[in-house]
């Protein structure tokens, strides 16, 4: 079990408990605004873009090739950007803070 915090674009802070599945699913199931996951989590759309809290970035790691390419040209991307459909919930992520990113 890991406590995962999402901060939406309207600065709503939503604390969730994640056990398994992607963080995109977790966010969608709990109605986190701005996380739409429209491609269903197959890394095709970037509608689940988050900025990972810099101190936690090492926990979630760097994006894979497809994901990095999708993010590279995203106007709202930062060096801490990830698509949360590509992050699986696990105990090591306890305390993770994710800021929902804006859309192009």
């Amino acid at each position: 079990m890991a406590k995962i915090t999402f901060i939406t674009l309207d600065n709503e802070v939503i604390e969730l408990e994640g056990t398994k599945g992607s963080l995109m699913r977790l966010a969608k199931d709990n109605g986190v605004k701005g996380i739409d996951g429209e491609c269903g989590g197959v890394c095709s759309c970037a509608t689940c873009h988050v900025h990972v809290h810099p101190e936690h970035f090492v926990k979630v790691g760097t994006p894979g090739e497809f994901e990095a390419d999708l993010l590279e040209l995203n106007d709202n991307a930062s060096q801490y950007s990830r698509l949360c459909c590509q992050i699986e919930a696990n105990e090591n992520l306890d305390g993770l803070i994710l800021q929902v990113a804006g859309r192009d």
């Binding site: 199931d29 709990n30 109605g31 429209e38 491609c39 759309c45 497809f66 390419d69 999708l70 040209l73």
Partner: protein, 416 residues
């Protein structure tokens, strides 16, 4: 707008309808929201039906659009397993199959589309003929394959659904034959160059694809379906899947006298010819300002974006639909992404940074100097650059684009 005592009814609870319901709350709709669908399941996401749900690696429950508690939380009245049979414009009501009438202030038609079942001789007596549109279809196909020894699958139609189903079923050990009546696969959606790539991809993975093949009859032989083509060749099938396109569910709109063409006609606000009635998603025939024409799209992008536009306008805001269409398809180890609409292109440039045999490349479609669309195969960068160029109407340096030695980035490719 004061919406407390008002009712919005949404007919159809798939991608468009469900998105619209939640966006209405997001945009400040305070009245009732009644969401109705004839499918009894908790509304789900359809793309996996031809992929992970068909192979059985994921269940449809994992692909619910929203968990049930969110409907409760947002006070969205979800009525599944209920069919709307009539729309009465004078009374502003819809009638359900059980005779109940529901009254609306605003109505959203998100009725979608349904697979075409061809009127081929013998089709009504088929043993194992399926279409693939809802979860029940995917389950039936999965089960029929499990129960079959020979596992011979004949897929009629080589569009996205047919090819995705072929890729999924071959993973389960099926012997898959695809019959396409046109001269190439994916002829409705992409160029001959891409068709060739996909044809080879499938052949390389053991799918038998035959083009210029028209089916003329079905019969039963040895307790199995027999598919006969106009050239006299017959195919024995344990399972037959039809993937030959869809028909719009426009009956309600037509009967109510709304303007329809290739779908329910709507303007940039997703509003139909009738005040207070909107149409979104697969069923809408809408104006796309980027391509300056009316189009109908079968895609998640269009369903979601139009749902947002309708919700916003229903709540009294001014939001116009001007999204760039995008699509994707996953088959075998290939992720294909498409952005824009290529119809009417007169020049195609292939960009192949990693060499001609690579499975990572992109096809760029131009009408003279205007970039219309990009098909990207395992090439996220091409998809992203293409999207930016189309969105911002940037002129592409075609010589640089065609030269794999030239750096593949927005700045370099846009410098003339």
């Amino acid at each position: 707008m004061e919406t407390d005592s008002k009712t919005c009814i949404i007919v159809g609870a798939s991608q468009a309808g469900v998105t619209c319901a939640f966006e209405l709350r997001n945009e400040g709709w305070k009245g009732r929201i009644i969401l109705i669908d004839s499918d009894p399941s908790l509304p789900y996401y359809r793309p996996p039906l031809s992929k992970s749900v068909l192979t059985g690696t994921e269940s449809i429950a994992e692909h619910a659009l929203k968990p049930i508690q969110l409907y409760k939380k947002e006070n969205i009245e979800l009525n599944t397993g209920k069919k709307v049979v009539a729309l009465n414009r004078e009374k502003s009501s819809v009638e359900l199959e059980d005779g109940t009438s529901l009254y609306y202030d605003k109505l959203v038609l998100a009725t979608g589309s349904r697979p075409i079942v061809p009127g081929i001789d013998g089709i009504n007596k088929m043993k194992n003929g399926f279409t693939l549109r809802n979860q029940e279809d995917a389950q039936k196909i999965h089960r029929a394959l499990k129960n079959s020894k020979a596992k011979r699958v004949v897929i009629i139609g080589a569009g996205f659904i047919g090819l995705e189903a072929a890729a999924s079923l071959i993973k389960l050990g099926a012997k898959v034959t695809v019959l396409e009546k046109e001269s190439r696969v994916l002829s409705r959606v992409t160029s001959p160059e891409m068709s060739l790539f996909f044809q080879k991809l499938h052949a390389g993975n053991g799918v038998e694809i035959y083009t210029n093949k028209s089916v003329c009859s079905f019969s039963i032989q040895n307790d199995n379906d027999l598919v006969k083509c106009t050239d006299g060749i017959e195919y024995h099938a344990d399972i037959v899947i039809f993937g030959i396109g869809v028909t719009v569910n426009a009956e309600l709109a037509i009967a109510a006298g709304l303007q329809t063409e290739n779908g329910i006609v709507v303007n940039e606000k997703a509003l139909t010819s009738e005040e207070n009635i909107y149409a979104i998603g697969d069923c809408s025939f809408h104006f796309n300002s980027l391509y300056n024409r009316f189009i109908r799209l079968e895609s998640i992008q269009n369903a979601s974006d139009q749902a947002r536009v309708a919700a916003s306008n229903i709540c009294g805001k001014q939001k116009m639909y001007n999204a760039i269409p995008w699509f994707w398809s996953d088959q075998f180890d290939v992720k294909m992404q498409m952005v824009g609409l290529q119809d009417g292109y007169n020049e195609l440039i292939l960009r192949n940074t990693d060499g001609p045999e690579s499975k990572k490349f992109s096809a760029w479609y131009f009408r003279d100097d205007k970039l219309l669309a990009v098909d990207a195969v395992n090439d996220m960068k091409a998809y992203m650059i293409g999207t930016k160029f189309i969105k911002n109407n940037i002129r592409v340096n075609k010589l640089k684009l065609a030269n794999p030695e030239e750096e593949f980035n927005q700045v370099n490719l846009s410098s003339l």
